[in-house]
């Protein structure tokens, strides 16, 4: 067991709490119908995004899928621009052209979020290919869900990336469900890392609810990818607490076995890391209270700024179709 890095744990904890609070604030305000686009919230899954993004350098570039709020924030995406985008504002990260499913922040290194499952995986490999062609440093990181493993794009992409030994890390968030359909109804029983191995891609399995475990595995994967060992696969098991799309708990629909969600909540990545920080003496009630107050005030200000921003002018709707 590696020595507990209190500073790293604190940075991770802060990022986890911030993302959770952003998502809960979106969920709380969503019924106001001011955020008029579909939202796929990351509540419960924050450990993967934060654990995988904190070890990244400025040269490393992320591509994400439809559930990308956590990745966007973990990679350093601008919070106000994200909320403005979800509110359909001109100051949004896509100027209101994309909505929640297309978050991007090029300066922060989140190049694109693509909500067609598997569609962003070739883009990530293209980014890695370009890095090599341009003799530039940096690893491409693609976040994907367990459903993406079923797409042809995933297999085609792994095959190509492995063939060319490209510097790309695939971070597979296995939350066990594609919308309402459990993994066992979609894939034969085998470790997801085996799928990578069939393409010659080494994989690691971690608990996505353990920030420190994800972080350590990601560091290992990045070292390998940077050293020319080719693509890496990180399989992180985790749980989505809310409905696939939207702000509500949907456990009453009965698509999960009884008690599964409650057990998942016991593995909460925030509580887990918080307990470790308390044990180390890094966290106490006072510091926690200050953290939440700080985060919530940032979020309130960001919501206010996003809401106050103008909607994009209808006169600009036809701009940027062609260069």
């Amino acid at each position: 067991m590696a020595k507990f890095d209190r500073d790293l744990a604190w940075r991770g904890y802060r990022a986890l709490v911030r993302i959770r609070e952003v998502e809960l604030a979106i969920a709380a305000r969503y019924p106001d119908q001011e955020m008029r686009c579909p939202v796929h919230l990351s509540v419960g899954q924050e450990g993967v995004a934060v654990g995988a993004c904190l070890p990244l350098s400025a040269d490393d570039l992320v591509l994400a899928g439809h559930r990308s709020h956590a990745q966007y924030l973990a990679k350093g995406g601008d919070l106000t621009a994200m909320l403005a985008e979800i509110h359909g504002r001109e100051t949004g990260c896509c100027g209101g052209r994309g909505g929640s499913m297309h978050l991007l922040d090029v300066e922060a290194g989140l190049l694109a979020s693509i909500p067609i499952v598997g569609s962003h995986l070739p883009l990530a490999v293209g980014v890695a290919l370009a890095r090599r062609q341009r003799r530039e440093p940096g690893v491409a990181v693609a976040f994907l869900g367990d459903g993406a493993v079923e797409t042809g794009a995933f297999h085609e992409t792994l095959n190509f990336a492995a063939l060319h030994r490209l510097p790309v890390v695939f971070v597979l968030e296995d939350n066990g469900y594609s919308v309402y359909t459990p993994l066992a109804e979609r894939q034969p029983p085998r470790p997801l890392t085996d799928v990578g191995l069939s393409h010659g891609v080494e994989g690691q399995s971690v608990s996505g609810d353990d920030f420190l475990e994800v972080h350590a595995a990601m560091e290992t994967a990045l070292v390998a990818a940077r050293s020319g060992a080719g693509p890496q696969l990180l399989v992180a098991s985790t749980s989505r607490w809310l409905e696939h799309c939207g702000p509500y708990d949907d456990d009453h629909l009965g698509y999960r076995p009884q008690g599964e969600l409650e057990r998942a909540k016991q593995r909460c990545p925030i509580r887990r890391l918080g307990d470790q920080l308390r044990k180390s003496g890094e966290l106490d009630d006072r510091r926690e209270k200050a953290l939440y107050a700080d985060v919530r005030s940032e979020i309130d200000a960001a919501f206010a700024a996003a809401f106050a921003a103008p909607q994009p002018s209808a006169a600009t709707a036809a701009e940027h179709v062609y260069g």
Binding site: R97, L104, P122, L123, R134, T157
Partner: protein, 364 residues
Amino acid sequence: MADSLQAARLLSVAEAIREGLERALDEIPEAFVMGEGVTDPKGIFGTTTGLMDRFGKERVIETPISENAFTGIAVGACLLGQRPIIVHQRVEFMLLAMEQLINNAAKLRYLTRGRQSVPMVIRLVIGRGWGQGPQHAQSLESVFAAIPGLKVAMPSRAVDARDMLMTGIRGGDPLVLLEHRWLHGVRGPVADDVDPDVLSGPVVRREGEDLTLVATSYMVLEALRAADALAAVGITAEVIDLRVLRPLELAPIGESVRRTGRLVVIDTGHRTLGMGAEVVATISERQLSHLKAPPRRLGLPDRPAASARSLAASFYPRAEEIAREAAEALGMDTEDRLHVERILDERREHRLVDVPDPSFQGPF
């Protein structure tokens, strides 16, 4: 300019494309070529032959049979400033990659308000004849041309093929370049200078006053043949090569129809929902008062291309059918119609329909 025209060489469309690729790789460090067969001994009908030897495997990339992935990989490379040219040996292979083309290549500029762009060229080859059948002989330009964010072009001659490729790869948008397999061997003059306006829209190939024939790709050659035969009975047909299907610039066609009052559009693909439908609809909207006769359309019928020669015979319109439509539009008398048919019959050196007309050798 005069010097370069004097220096024009006679190249086949395939040779001109190869020259365009070589010059793009030479002049643009961000350019690279990728596709199934780009490094093989046949080199995509000779269009990529020798490029890997000169530029190496990092810039001329042979690919697995993963059309969707390598199309998306090309789009991803664009996000870092690369300029990929990808190629599929048949249009049909691109159908496996439509997701990447329509969702990503055509949308990223708009989504990022121009901060990102996808300056890539997607070369697709339209097959025809020799029994290639339903899945190797489709001309699907109107499918691609339906998507905002894509540029779609169809060269009919060597110099345009090279210049569209070279202009497209220096541009800021994904360009779908549809090459007709029957044009690869057709020769034409190719000057050294690249025409930077080649993607601006239609061009008049033959001037005329009595009717306007608009065609794309290989059908431009059939239209020119029809115009030749019509000239024998004193009809001057203006032949316009549409060239760029999206964005669609119809002003030159409108200008022509204002003079001629008669319009026949010849699609390389299917007639129903083809480019001709769009051209006729728009010209009718804008120029109805100038039309002396209802506009007419020719194109492939509503069925797949069959393999057997006997089934393929009635599938492709030729100069004969174009002349017949022109005769209808003009209200030509029977004697003139028969004369035109006789000329076309005599000039076609043989009647086989599953290989290119031997008279189409160029230069044109």
